[in-house]
Symmetry: C2
Subunit: 453 residues, 2 copies
């Protein structure tokens, strides 16, 4: 950050208040880079954000919308009239269009789609049915295709003509089709360089690698790993060209999924949260996860209630209960993170449960002994009772082994059960390790109670 | 996964054991897609992994190394002779080469670099000094550059000639230079299509957007957001062309950083951990973070020790200590995750501490009351004592507000202090909220002790 902090949001606010038109606002916004623009928008109140979007010309509003996270863009568009919203949506590229519309309620999305021109509306209705993390959901419908009989010169002339909107295209390939949509193959733009302008493109076309619209993110990742191309055509079962997925879109989708996973691991589920969203929505989503957690916590703590007599006899144990609970959570979460990472990389697959468990158990034994020793010594030093040290240290050591075993294997098991490991691993881990930790500490203590009093 | 699980690692192991040569192994490996290959490598013992790498021809070994995470690739190469390692390193693309070598100890890296041919060695020595997350660290030195006086035809002929290794290039641009390295501008390959073959490229060159080698990841991200180009040339202060950064490399670096952050948040610090790494290394790195945490935990729990009398009088409180500690951690971590996300997006900057705090406080009040009510009711129902419910519920409600306030603001404050919020936010958060939670619960209880007994 520059030390002279700029406040573009103040200027925008003033311009909105003084009723300045689309031109002045547009110029102000064009002067900001994307990070500053995003931050400025966040500093505005929701009302000012909406006023800004309405005051801009649709193309400028659309480019602003493309900078915002989809959920936030949808929030803003939701409150506009369907007609105004459609004006902006029309200016978005096909992939952004669908991303934003899928964040809206079905009725609101339908109202906006009804306001689009027929061709765009039909296209959106088709695209919106694909899962967002599939080739169909990631593809864009802006591509250049020509019939077999076109000549190299015709293609080149068309690509350079002013009538085609290639603003949205990063043209690396030209697709060759018959009957308007059936894909016959692909020509790299650079190969057009080396061709005779009078040649028919049907003569220089190469067979195209293709994917189906259902191809999931993982398979697309493997595909682009394997093939060094910038975009892949998506075709249906009859080889009809539906769109293209760019490597760039795939990489962006992978980044988004990994961001979404970090949010889910920390208990932000049900979608992206940004502090510009309404408070009740943020509270409700967070509470949904917290209230499940508090129930699990109460269940785990019920183990403590069963040992009230032991605790009353040796009140010092109460000090170590939260330590055992927290530290087991920490050790277990480390193992969860490594498993999530190995799942993402493909270095571990769901059937590797046993192998992963053996690898984790070794680390658990070493780290359990180290941590147990540390906490045991602390307990001994504090109360001058070596047996207390043994009980506390032993419980932590054993529970560390339990925690890393569960932490390492649970993500794989959840993936195998087709559940989302990012959401469920944490709560499952802490509930089981808490119960087990409390039980180990208190039952060990009750075994040697006379020596502790 | 296919239901008929394949075991390529078994086949590779058998082939290694029977001493089969580079050709057979190479064919087996070529038949695997990258995810299966990576998984197969992980299923081999470290010795077998090394044996596999040595048995392959250097180009095949290099393409295997490019599939592996850098830290793992470095582990394998480390144990080979510098001469053999150099044979593989020579076949890597310039950016991978530096990534792998920077993971090695300086002496080992130097020994390998000394075995490279002089030109490569000089290049690596230059590149290795750039920070990995800067344009210099991300750039590759494989690009096509030509003098102003070359004709379009000469450039095209050269690009299509067999002598140049364009395996590593994804050619979208040709750079125009004077005196071998001084950048004059850029020509898109597609623009060569539309040019007269006899023209000098100096006549059709456009000015190039450039970045300096020190440009950090965030600035590169803003750059590629702003400009729809596939690669940007990196030049020094004298406009000498040092290399190019592809959009793709940037997106991959961003994804890696976000992966690294999720590991750090969960307490895997000091680098990527994969279960193929030596146990002592994995244990030691995890313990480094755990042992700091256990000390912080002991400090937090010392608050409990100060209230032993209150606890002895109302042993039921011991059940609620871990619940308050866990739940505050959960609420706080949600706020941490949202702040980390907003920092990544640019929706929050370090100076927004106050704004973020106000936004979090509202959510904290709502969720604190909801959770406090829930836990308070549970406590009342369990012991039939409404005052116990008030104490427990009140402590959790207040501590939830503390937790989200700290969780939301600490990442911003750490970023401002130039500390890594991914590493330090969690431990700081839980220590403070644990202390505060224990204090709230036990001091509230001691105030109304007669009503609790």
């Amino acid at each position: 950050m520059d030390s002279t902090i700029r406040y573009p949001e103040k200027k925008i606010r003033e311009m909105l208040a003084s009723g300045l038109g689309a031109e002045e606002l547009g110029r102000e916004i064009d002067g900001l880079d994307s990070a500053d623009l995003l931050h400025a928008v966040y500093m505005l109140s929701p009302d000012d954000q909406r006023a800004l979007l309405s005051a801009l010309t649709p193309p400028r509003a659309a480019s602003l919308v493309e900078e915002l996270p989809d959920a936030h863009a949808a929030d803003l568009i939701e409150d506009m009239s369907a007609h105004d919203a459609a004006g902006i949506v029309e200016e978005l590229s096909s992939d952004h269009r669908v991303d934003v519309l899928s964040e809206l309620d079905k009725t609101e999305a339908d109202a906006i789609i009804a306001e689009l021109d027929d061709e765009d509306a039909d296209e959106v209705r088709e695209l919106i049915d694909y899962a967002p993390d599939s080739a169909g959901g990631l593809m864009m419908t802006e591509y250049a295709s020509y019939p077999m009989t076109a000549t190299v010169r015709e293609v080149v002339d068309d690509l350079t003509s002013e009538t085609v909107d290639y603003h949205l295209l990063t043209v690396h390939y030209v697709y060759v089709v018959v009957k308007a949509k059936k894909l016959k193959g692909v020509i790299r733009i650079r190969d057009l360089v080396f061709s005779d302008p009078k040649q028919k493109i049907g003569e220089i076309v190469s067979p195209a690698l293709v994917v189906s619209p259902e191809t999931p993110l993982e398979a697309l990742e493997a595909f682009f790993d394997e093939h060094d191309i910038a975009a892949v055509p998506v075709v249906d079962a009859r080889q009809m060209l539906l769109g293209i997925v760019r490597r760039r879109s795939l990489l962006e989708a992978l980044a988004e999924r990994s961001e979404a996973d970090s949010l889910k691991v920390a208990g932000i589920i049900g979608g992206d949260e940004l502090r510009s969203m309404p408070v009740w929505l943020r509270s409700r989503r967070r509470l949904a996860w917290l209230s499940i957690n508090i129930l699990l916590n109460i269940i785990a703590a019920s183990v403590i209630a069963a040992y009230e007599d032991t605790l009353t006899a040796v009140i010092a144990l109460a000090v170590f209960l939260p330590i055992v609970s927290d530290m087991s959570g920490c050790s277990g979460n480390q193992a969860v993170a490594v498993s999530m990472r190995e799942l993402t990389l493909g270095a571990a697959v769901p059937s590797d449960v046993l192998r992963v468990w053996r690898k984790e158990a070794v680390v658990g034994i070493i780290n359990g002994m180290a941590l147990g020793l540390l906490l045991g010594m602390a307990a001994w030093a504090w109360k001058g009772n070596p047996v207390l040290g043994l009980v506390v240290g032993g419980a932590l050591a054993l529970n560390t082994i339990v925690a890393v075993s569960i932490g390492g294997t649970v993500p794989l098991i959840l993936r195998r059960l087709k559940l989302d490991p990012a959401v469920a691993s944490g709560p499952l881990l802490t509930t089981v390790t808490d119960m087990c930790g409390f039980f180990l500490l208190l039952s060990l203590a009750s075994q040697v109670l006379p020596a502790l009093i």
